[in-house]
């Protein structure tokens, strides 16, 4: 590999390729094997599936479970909840579909050995209406075990850089390419169908933490927007990319608040001890109308109330853990919430000397993230299930994107909010069943053009070649006249997004001019991607993660600019269009990038209420 380009590529032929072995990818592998007994099913993952993805540390709750067997909730209740939380805009067919199947996934987890909290009668203990509590330190390895048993092969430490279109039809999938971050082999996957389940995106916007703490984002640093960039660059239709997520979290450690608000029933106040969510409700009503009276109050509006409280000088916001932790059992619940899913918060408490049973902890709003499985739903526009979806939401197989044979699940899929871990796994299963049907109807392999595979090979390793070529120009160190390292360019991306796209530095506020400036700056950064250098395979991985983030970020800015209203106050504000504008914008904003011309097309699609 002297010149940076490894000599012999590895070719893998399979029926179904699953890109990403996180929750959705593991669900897809499991389900695909059930229906496709003789198929070659390959999972390709950039890390090791036992600890890859957003659930690497484990979790303390399953956030999506209906409890239909106990009559707790029906799927239509969930649809109403999601509609409300998303300020009206979700794909109700997809949301209903996840809800009606998710219980069977959770019952499988139970059978596979996940310790779920139960009462004396064996009923799951609720954290909140949709959440059940788990001892979830090993949630991911338990799920991974099922996926490993199901897949033909799991290729780990392979980072996918591009999807491969068919040689005969650019709108038909034919596989994917990438490289091994371990030995540097070029990996070519030829597949009849592909499911992308590559997670969400952190580090598009500048994080609050800095220096050594740069990696202390709420969503993990390895969620790099690959799912979006891979799809966008192939020309897949995307939806709601402006629907970025800002979360309320414990300050610095970013420990989640669910167990405290929902289970321990803790209250957050401003510095003066005032319950600002109650006190400031009338002013919220003035700005967003009836949405201020929705129950529960949409996640973004709760953010909005907190943000105003801080901006008007009544911070810090305090979570009064000390008022509710009144027994050793509750103290254990409080610490376990973090030790199972955000160990960093436990470390922060230990380091700052905070005993949550004696004193409150500060809350803060995070930097924005882009994902499809949480209280937001950015991602691919996919076909819905045959028995539920209106005609304009259904053009093929369940969870198939607008690229023939290419499916999505979990954070990859847009419009389908509040899936969380269990729903993402379930959506992986739904996509797999869709893909199995597709494979049955399309037995012929999709041809791959040798020329495309070769030119992508040159592109994949270009950052290594570039670095080697530039070495003689400087003595040592990291400053080169015409070369950028991935972390240097990532800092530029985060600064652009923070200052122009509505990050923490601008209190989530932007406008048309700022977005225009941001897109211009991003244009320069895109040109500079051709100057990114990598000194080794680790940095080559970072170079591709950067490239995927930049494409995702561009899509976010374009969508944000197109929607001339402030649909989700508390996620971001269009200062030039500060109101929720139901008359014009009660619709999806979708986009398609044309790889042949480089043009972006933005347009709207109707929102249908199914319930």
């Amino acid at each position: 590999m002297e010149d940076g380009v490894p000599s012999s590529p590895t070719v893998v032929d399979c029926d179904l390729l699953i890109v990403g072995g996180g929750f959705a990818g593991c669900g897809a592998a499991f389900e695909a094997r059930y229906w496709g007994r003789d198929l070659k099913i390959v999972v390709v993952e950039k890390a090791a599936i036992e600890r890859s993805g957003a659930v690497a540390q484990g979790l303390s709750a399953i956030n999506c479970y209906m409890g239909m067997r106990w009559g707790e909730n029906r799927p239509e209740d969930f649809v109403r909840y999601v509609r409300n939380d998303l300020m009206g805009l979700s794909r109700e067919d997809l949301v209903y579909d996840v809800a009606r199947h998710v219980d069977s996934s959770v019952h499988l987890f139970d059978e596979w050995g996940l310790p779920i909290f139960t009462d004396a009668s064996g009923k799951y203990i609720r954290e909140g209406r949709w959440q059940v509590m788990i001892h979830g330190e090993s949630y991911k390895p338990i799920i991974a075990e099922a996926a490993r048993a199901a897949a033909t092969q799991v290729d780990e430490h392979v980072l996918i850089t591009h999807l491969l279109p068919s040689a005969s039809d650019p709108h038909r999938i034919a596989g994917a390419v990438g490289f091994s971050v371990r030995d540097g082999t070029y990996r070519i996957y030829r597949a009849r169908a592909v499911i992308v389940a590559a997670g969400g995106a952190s580090h598009l916007f500048r994080p609050r933490s800095s220096g050594e703490g740069w990696g202390r984002t709420w969503y993990p640093p390895w969620s790099t927007g690959s799912a979006y960039a891979l799809l966008i660059r192939l020309g897949a239709e995307m939806t709601q990319m402006e629907n970025r997520l800002v979360v309320t979290r414990f300050k610095d450690g970013y420990g989640p608040v669910g167990a405290f608000f929902l289970y321990l029933k803790a209250v957050a106040t401003n510095a003066a001890g005032e319950n600002y969510e109650v006190a400031r409700r009338p002013s919220l009503r003035e700005r967003v109308g009836a949405y201020a009276d929705a129950t529960p109050l949409p996640t973004c509006l709760r953010n909005d109330l907190m943000l105003r409280e801080i901006l008007e000088g009544r911070g810090p916001i305090l979570m009064h853990t000390e008022r509710v932790i009144d027994s050793p059992e509750k103290e254990t619940v409080a610490w376990e919430a973090f030790l199972n899913m955000t160990v960093g918060q436990a470390v922060t408490w230990a380091a700052q000397g905070t005993d949550p049973s004696r004193e409150p902890s500060e809350l803060i709003l995070s930097e924005p993230y882009v994902l499809g499985s949480h209280a937001v739903c950015a991602g691919a526009w996919t076909s819905g299930p045959a028995d539920l979806s209106p005609e304009d939401y259904r053009w093929g197989y369940n969870r198939m994107t607008t690229i023939v044979g290419l499916f999505g699940a979990g954070d990859t899929v847009g419009g389908s909010a509040h899936k969380f871990s269990s729903g993402s796994f379930t959506e992986g299963r739904l996509a797999a069943k869709g893909a199995i049907r597709f494979l049955a109807d399309h037995p012929e392999p999709a041809p791959v053009a040798d020329g495309t595979v070769e030119s992508l090979r040159a592109a994949v390793f270009a950052p290594l070649v570039r670095y080697l070529g530039s070495r003689p120009k400087v003595t040592s160190g990291v400053v080169h006249p015409d070369l950028l390292f991935p972390d240097q360019a990532l800092h530029r991306l985060e600064k652009i997004m923070d200052e122009y796209g509505g990050g923490v530095g601008s209190n989530y506020t932007t406008n048309d001019h700022l977005l225009g400036r941001g897109l211009a700056q991003l244009g320069h950064l895109k040109q500079d991607l051709a100057a990114v250098g990598a000194a080794d395979l680790h940095q080559l991985g970072r170079a591709w993660e950067l490239e995927h983030r930049v494409w995702t970020a561009e899509s976010v800015l374009r969508h944000t600019r197109f929607r001339t209203e402030t649909r989700w106050p508390g996620y971001y504000y269009r200062a030039d269009h500060p109101k929720v504008d139901d008359e014009h914008w009660h619709c999806f904003v979708n986009s398609v990038y044309d790889p042949a011309t480089g043009d972006w097309r933005l347009f709207t699609r109707p929102v249908h209420a199914l319930i």
Partner: protein
């Protein structure tokens, strides 16, 4: 909180290298022991700490907000995890939680079940449904016209 490795304890076994989701635990070619190559891309996920058979990896809270003088140490066994937390003032807290019921490696392939029929492939039910839904039938609603 970035990880750091004790040179006395590390045996260079690569377990941390294999498991780190951020690809930042590498072996130093000069002395054959692991180290964190990019502390600013560490998520304090503890995957490497839990995986190290020698207990060689520890963490120190991120310098940008965590004062020194704390420790958070896991000890993960096949069925339980034990945590020891040393607070800044020296107080020690200990917690232990189950991680799994049953044996690791016991989850079967779904292909162990009888093969489904073509009709079932065409329907809306997923594997093991409706049994595993624990309700009689898969709920549905009628589609509204586009």
């Amino acid at each position: 909180m970035p990880t750091f490795v004790s040179p006395e304890k590390c045996k260079g076994c690569m377990q941390c290298v294999d498991i780190c989701p951020s690809d930042i635990m590498h072996i130093d070619p000069n002395h054959g022991r692991a180290f964190n190559v990019e502390p600013a891309m560490c998520w304090e996920c503890f995957a490497c700490v839990k995986a190290c058979p020698e207990g060689a990896i520890d963490v120190r809270g991120y310098a940008d907000f965590a004062p020194l003088g704390h420790r958070v140490v896991p000890n993960r066994t096949p069925d339980r995890i034990y945590w020891t937390i040393r607070m800044r003032d020296g107080t020690v807290k200990e917690f232990s939680f189950p991680v799994r019921r049953g044996k690791w490696g016991s989850t079967p392939s779904p292909a162990k079940e009888p093969a489904p029929s073509a009709d079932q492939i065409a329907g809306e039910l997923l594997a093991f449904e409706p049994d595993y839904l624990a309700v009689e039938a898969l709920p549905t609603i009628s589609a509204v016209p586009g």
